[in-house]
């Protein structure tokens, strides 16, 4: 399934995939921004404030009641990094017309797009034309809470903190929500200025998956948004590059939390991104290292040594990095760390069975084929590639995986460099806080 691309306006690209297989389609609007220390946390906060209330739907209840009426349309906020780019947006599912009850003779897509337009361009403003102070202050508190809540999940905490050390001199090392202090200092004036700056310069990437004719979808999106978009094309971004750390010294970091399980995270630089020729080989090598239950990390660190429940690796293809994560008792750390490095070494020495390579290729083939069953995954695939000017298709990737050889695996694994070793020590590994009970 390959989207048809329409450049419907200077600042509006529509990518549409037509499929009759699904009962609910999906439409999303995304904006791609650079990551900037002074602005990124403002943008994240702005996105939340815009969803709090609009001119026509001034409260969270009013907005949700409107979406309930539109057959429970789920509107989700997109706020994430793709390599060194910040992607923000809004997505909605669209129930297929043939499943709408008889009274539902409304144009669902048009109505949903209008709610999106309302959220982005008609937020609730005060008499001075500023974003409502009440919502700004409330969302500031929630954003600070979200920053602090990272410690609720030791695994996510360890991954995030390892990333912060690893990417300390790169854009994606800047926390997407900012810091408690940077959020605290935001005023309604600052946020309103950021909103105006954005709507005056933004360029939309619209993505659609569903039964409608792609050309008609493009036309409708254009009809709803064209008059709201800037007339001059926004500045095009240069291709997003992997700007790896040039320093060869391995960074080490250790922290602690009062939890019962320690977290070991190892960050590797592959220096191979989605736009590189070796991307498929690197993805297969990572699959062999730590993705499936037959991967080297699962079989050796977990099954053979029984050191942990989870030990896996994740390839960030937009950053050319691999994060290995393992939850274990602090006293097992040295053994686990040694075993993890042994497995990486084994890949680069060609010390693996042909069956491991075949299994990894088939596993990727299986998951990539299933992308077309899932609109959000399709969007992520094609938007991610567009960002890197990598005009790849799912079938192209599948052919790429199939062609990967033993030599390719050895070659890419030899390029991997350890960047950061992070350990979150568990200070409550042996005793627990007592629970209190009252009648």
């Amino acid at each position: 399934m390959v989207p048809i691309v329409y450049q419907v306006a200077p600042n509006l690209t529509v990518r549409a995939c037509q499929t009759k297989k699904l009962k609910a389609g999906m439409i999303s609007l995304s904006v791609i921004l650079p990551i900037e220390r002074e602005k990124t946390h403002l943008t994240s906060l702005l996105l939340s404030v815009l969803h709090r209330g609009t001119e026509n739907y001034p409260t969270i209840a009013a907005l949700n009641r409107r979406l309930d009426y539109l057959f429970g349309t789920e509107m989700t906020v997109r706020n994430y990094y793709r390599g060194d780019r910040h992607v923000i947006g809004i997505a909605a599912d669209l129930l297929g017309e043939e499943y709408l009850p008889q009274d539902g003779s409304i144009d669902l897509m048009e109505n949903v797009l209008e709610v999106m337009r309302e959220i982005l361009f008609h937020p609730l403003l005060d008499e001075k034309g500023m974003l409502t102070e009440k919502y700004v202050e409330s969302e500031k508190k929630l954003q600070k809470d979200a920053i602090l809540a990272l410690r609720n999940s030791p695994r996510a905490y360890a991954l995030e903190h390892c990333g912060a050390v690893m990417y300390r001199d790169e854009p994606c090392g800047i926390p997407i929500c900012g810091t408690v202090e940077s959020v605290q200092s935001v005023t309604p004036e600052m946020l309103s200025a950021r909103w105006r700056e954005l709507i005056e310069h933004l360029a939309f990437e619209c993505f659609y998956v569903g039964p409608e004719n792609p050309a008609e979808v493009a036309e409708r999106v254009c009809r709803v948004f064209a008059s709201y978009l800037p007339k001059n094309p926004a500045q095009a971004f240069p291709r997003c590059d992997v700007c790896g750390d040039r320093d060869d010294a391995v960074k080490h970091c250790e922290e602690e939390l009062p939890v019962s399980q320690g977290q070991l995270v190892i960050g590797l630089r592959t220096n191979i991104s989605v736009a590189d020729r070796d991307y498929c080989a690197c993805a297969v090598a990572n699959e062999m290292l730590g993705v499936s239950p037959v991967s080297k990390l699962f079989v050796n660190v977990r099954e053979k040594h029984g050191l942990c429940y989870h030990c896996s690796s994740h390839y960030n293809m937009y950053k050319g990095a691999i994060m290995i994560s393992c939850g274990l008792l602090p006293q097992n750390r040295t053994l686990a760390q040694r075993e993890i490095f042994n497995q990486i070494e084994a890949l680069s020495q060609g010390d693996f069975e042909d069956g491991e390579l075949t299994a990894a290729k088939l596993s990727l083939e299986n998951s990539y084929r299933q992308l077309e069953d899932n609109p959000t995954a399709l969007e992520s695939f094609y938007l991610g590639r567009a960002l890197f000017h990598a005009e790849d298709t799912i079938d192209g990737c599948r052919r790429g995986f199939a062609a990967v050889t033993r030599e390719d695996i050895v070659r890419v694994a030899r390029k991997w460099r350890t960047d950061t070793v992070y350990f979150l020590n568990a200070t409550a590994a042996d005793g627990e806080e007592a629970e209190n009970e009252e009648d």
């Binding site: 209840a61 309930d68 499943y99 929630l142 809470d145 009062p258 942990c308 088939l362 299986n366 629970e435």
Partner: protein, 429 residues
């Protein structure tokens, strides 16, 4: 071999049930998507901790977490190989999970479906355990337990169950405890497999672009031997009211996390009545606690509640409860405000407009659930294990009356059925 067809013209979906001569029940749900998803499950779950071999015989108690332990160990084969590797060689992605009332083994694939299905049926029915591998597994599951204990949401939920229930094994952690898993040995695992993995305890669900004949050909070729042993499960006498009204603990959280568990004292024995109660509670939860509703709106807009607020009803053969959870700096005040609000709705009734709106939302959610073979297969398994037809479920939202909802609200949302569990930050209580 008895075959029954189910179809919904409203959803434009249907499935077939086949009662195989081995005692196995097979469900095939054709769906023209790329991924095929298969689940092979036994009705043996974490709550099944006591049984009798004969009527009036001695009650045998199993260590907590044994169903989950067995799930981990079944992937190991006699020749030393691992079934994960066999699935991987076929390009299929295999996994398994244990819940209160079942253990399910599964795979998803896009190719080599029949070979993968044959492997699924084979490995689940041919156990092989050694002392050494059981010992190693204790280390792995021990870390899984620690991982769950470090998750404040899991921990708070578990504490809520322990506060609500006095005896019912739904209060036991699914993975067991550090102590209970050390009481598990190969002999016990073989015994559980013999008693609870007989084909008559098993259900196979397949969803995807497959034909019933293809599935049945593989089922026919599989060696499914009946043991003809029927272990009798021993139920528990659970009081109507809760064990503890309140429980709390401190963890590394940034702000308090609360759970309000309403123990449902009236679980119907008829499966259709149970499903209707489930649909009615789901509708009532949507009316009372959704983001469009009054209480969320009030508490969220005033800064008392975080957006993590959520609710859900769980029902099994002999237990049911409704859980409302979220994060707040003042959990006690939220609990009080929720109880006041429910009391007001009880007195003033439910607005027609709210009922219609929530029916519309839930019907739409139902339709959306049919876009993933994984979701369809898992839901179908839940429904069939509870003896109900999944395709009928969306119709229930329209049949359930306002009076029924008010009466449910009246029975369930009472102080004597409420257990509150709170996880406070380490520096605060």
């Amino acid at each position: 071999m008895k075959k029954t067809e189910f179809y919904s013209s409203r959803l434009r979906e249907g499935y077939t049930r086949i009662e195989h001569e081995s005692g196995l029940t097979v469900y095939v749900f054709p769906k023209k998507l790329t991924g095929i998803y298969a689940l092979f499950a036994t009705d043996f779950g974490s709550v099944h901790t006591a049984y009798r071999k004969e009527p009036n015989g001695e009650v045998i108690t199993l260590p907590e977490g044994i169903a989950h332990f067995l799930e981990h160990k079944l992937f190991e084969n006699e020749d030393g190989s691992d079934s994960f590797a066999r699935f991987s060689a076929l390009g299929a992605d295999a996994n398994a999970y244990t819940s209160y009332n079942r253990t399910a083994y599964l795979f998803s694939c896009t190719d080599h479906f029949e070979d993968s299905l044959a492997e699924l049926l084979r490995f689940v029915t041919t156990p092989h355990f050694t002392d050494e591998s059981v010992q190693r597994e204790i280390g792995i599951i021990s870390e899984e337990i620690r991982m769950t204990e470090d998750n404040p949401w899991d921990r708070g939920y578990q504490m809520m169950l322990e506060a609500m229930y006095c005896k019912h094994p739904v209060r036991l952690p699914i993975c067991g405890t550090q102590e209970s898993i050390r009481r598990i040995d190969p002999q016990l695992l073989y015994e559980c497999h013999r008693l609870f993995y007989d084909p008559s305890h098993m259900t196979l669900v397949v969803c995807g672009d497959v034909k019933t004949e293809e599935v049945m050909k593989t089922v026919d070729a599989a060696i499914l031997t009946r043991t003809h042993i029927s272990a009798q499960r021993v139920g528990t006498e659970e009081p109507e009211t809760v064990r503890k009204a309140y429980v709390d603990a401190q963890m590394q959280v940034s702000k308090p996390i609360f759970f309000m568990g309403f123990k449902d004292p009236f679980v119907p024995s008829d499966p259709n009545a149970r499903i209707r109660r489930d649909a009615a509670m789901t509708l009532l939860d949507e009316i009372l606690f959704s983001r469009s509703g009054e209480i969320y709106s009030e508490l969220f807009e005033s800064g008392v509640l975080s957006p993590t607020f959520t609710c859900g009803y769980s029902i099994g053969e002999d237990f049911a409860f409704n859980c409302v959870s979220g994060e707040s700096d003042t959990p006690d005040a939220v609990v009080e405000r929720v109880m006041e609000y429910v009391e007001r709705v009880r007195q003033e009734g439910i607005a027609d407009e709210d009922l219609e709106r929530c029916r519309r939302v839930l019907y739409s959610d139902e339709v959306r659930a049919y876009d993933s073979t994984e979701e369809i297969a898992n839901r179908l398994l839940s429904f069939v294990l509870d003896g109900a037809d999944m395709l009928e479920y969306p119709n229930l939202f329209e049949q359930i009356t306002k009076e029924e909802l008010v009466s449910l609200l009246d029975t369930l949302f009472r102080r004597e059925y409420l257990s509150v569990s709170v996880i406070y930050p380490l520096e605060q209580r």
